[in-house]
């Protein structure tokens, strides 16, 4: 078994590159939404060049003391010329203000997107002339070696970047390619089996930003990477490309037919009224597909929400282009299984998908506007007003459902007739 990291000492991870992070074995949940069965680590690094020293990321504030002691074991504060923060979340920026105070010669390098966020961490006036914002292709020299930046937004914060040390083939990837896994043996060829942590981290942190993951991979895949040094979890020096390939596989679309648009109608029904409305909505969507002909095909699926746990539906939703929800109104609200599903959608990217709602009701009918509101807040587009029907839907109401499905499908195919309305007609 390999030795654990010595207390208060930096650990060499390459030529003149040291790990100076912290272990947090007692943490059991991260950012409220993530479980961390054996804790996590906050990885920070020091890179020494012939004419300067760079510190890449810091640690969560309450681990600052150990971080500074590890840093002091390999560098003097006066030598530090560069500080890089790959994103500003508190688990990595906790020791930043103090580091800036101690390393008085150092310039902070953050992404352009990070700049306006700095005022949340400290008074930017205090270090005003020591902050530089950078983007893809920008470099900072350390004499005989240099750091290069890649702007990789939304992985998982808007300001995320990756930092590349070409001379070592080392990518400081921030949270990207990281995981919450605390093991003092530090390297992927020395620690325990952390595959589940890696997958779990991707699913909860990166998956909602799948399109951005793919963009970042375009930048990262061509690099001759020998080591990935993420901000959490093991340092990936044994077959680092394997992890990059895994991200590529995880971020791919799971649907094989990529030309047809996908529209899913979800419903739940107490007495069958909402169910029959759902069938009319689905038939309307199919009808639109036929109308447009070869120019567009919409694949329509109909699911009873009661028939499954939310998770498999979330997988379907991730790949779908339009989502329609049918719920009865009971006690002035949509029913719980509908909310359970709608509250699971932050796990995937739904921004810009089309949404719509419908449902039957007894005497009020709040479910439809409430669902529409939730869909808008989730950043879906909701171009076609929903349909409510009292108790047993009439022929006209079924026709309205058919039209709701049809119009939504036409929107999906870019064939909707432009509408002109007056603001006063909007509620």
């Amino acid at each position: 078994m390999r030795a654990a990291a010595p207390i208060d000492q930096a650990v060499a991870v390459g030529n003149d590159v040291h790990w100076i992070g912290a272990f947090d074995p007692d943490l059991r949940s991260f950012d409220i939404i993530l479980r961390t069965a054996n804790g996590t680590s906050y990885n920070a690094y020091v890179v020494r060049g012939s004419e300067g020293v760079a510190v890449i990321d810091t640690v969560k504030a309450n681990f600052s003391a150990g971080f500074f002691r590890r840093l002091e074991s390999v560098a003097d504060y006066d030598e530090i010329s560069t500080i890089v923060l790959n994103h500003l979340e508190p688990d990595h920026s906790g020791a930043l203000p103090e580091l800036l105070r101690r390393a008085t010669r150092a310039t902070l390098h953050v992404s352009h997107q990070a700049r306006p966020m700095l005022k949340g961490l400290f008074d930017p006036e205090e270090f005003a002339d020591r902050i530089v914002s950078v983007g893809t292709g920008d470099v900072v020299g350390l004499g005989d070696r240099q750091l290069e930046f890649f702007n990789t937004p939304y992985l998982h914060w808007p300001d995320t970047q990756c930092t590349w040390l070409a001379s070592e083939g080392m990518l400081f990837s921030g949270d990207f390619l990281g995981c919450h896994y605390c093991d003092e043996r530090l390297f992927n060829d020395a620690v325990g089996d952390f595959r589940f942590s890696f997958e779990y981290y991707y699913a909860h942190i990166m998956r909602p930003f799948r399109a951005y993951v793919r963009e970042a991979l375009e930048l990262i895949e061509p690099l001759p990477i020998r080591t990935i040094a993420p901000a959490h979890g093991p340092i990936l020096r044994d077959d680092p490309q394997d992890y990059v390939r895994r991200y590529r596989a995880l971020s791919k679309s799971g649907l094989h037919n990529t030309t047809a648009k996908t529209l899913i109608v979800f419903y739940i029904s107490a007495y069958g009224a909402t169910r029959r409305m759902a069938e009319a909505v689905a038939a309307g969507a199919e009808f639109a597909s036929g109308e447009v002909g070869a120019a567009g095909e919409v694949r329509v699926s109909l699911y009873d929400i009661e028939g499954s746990e939310p998770q498999p539906f979330v997988d379907l939703i991730e790949e779908a282009d339009a989502l329609m929800f049918g719920s009865p109104t009971i006690n002035g609200d949509a029913v719980k299984p509908v909310w359970d599903l709608l509250s699971s959608l932050t796990m995937v990217d739904v921004k810009g998908k089309l949404g719509a709602a419908f449902g039957s009701y007894g005497w009020s009918g709040e479910a439809v506007p409430m669902i529409e509101d939730r869909l808008r807040r989730l950043k879906l587009r909701v171009p076609v007003p929903g349909v409510k029907a009292r108790l047993t839907p009439t022929a006209d109401e079924f026709a309205a459902c058919h039209e709701l499905g049809r119009q939504t499908a036409l929107h999906l195919l870019g064939r909707a007739t432009p509408r002109v309305i007056d603001m006063s007609a909007l509620v």
Binding site: R376, R381, M423
Partner: protein, 95 residues
């Protein structure tokens, strides 16, 4: 009261609105694809491309101008939670 026509290109809807309305008030109601975060002109989530008629929007406030600059917003882009409609015909879509 003077009126204006705002077209939300991504959903193909034109809305006739009274002058003084903010883009957010209309776009949310009709379910256009412009998305909102803080709603207070800070987060830049609601960045919107003004395809035509940008001169019919009130000039950005100091705060809005700063946020647009910080986020490297291209020309003719506005924050939909801030931009106020003055009149005429305006066409917008999410940035």
């Amino acid at each position: 009261m003077p009126k204006a026509n705002v077209t939300f290109q991504d959903i193909g809807v034109t809305v006739t609105v009274p002058a003084g309305t903010r883009l957010i008030e209309v776009s949310e109601k009709i379910g256009a694809g412009i998305t909102y975060g803080c709603r207070e002109g800070e987060c830049c989530t609601c960045l919107t491309k003004v395809i035509s008629g940008h001169e019919h929007l009130a000039a950005p406030s100091v705060l809005e101008a700063q946020v647009l600059k910080d986020n490297l917003a291209p020309r003719h882009h506005r924050l939909a939670c801030q931009a106020q409609i003055l009149g005429g015909d305006i066409v917008v879509k999410p940035a």
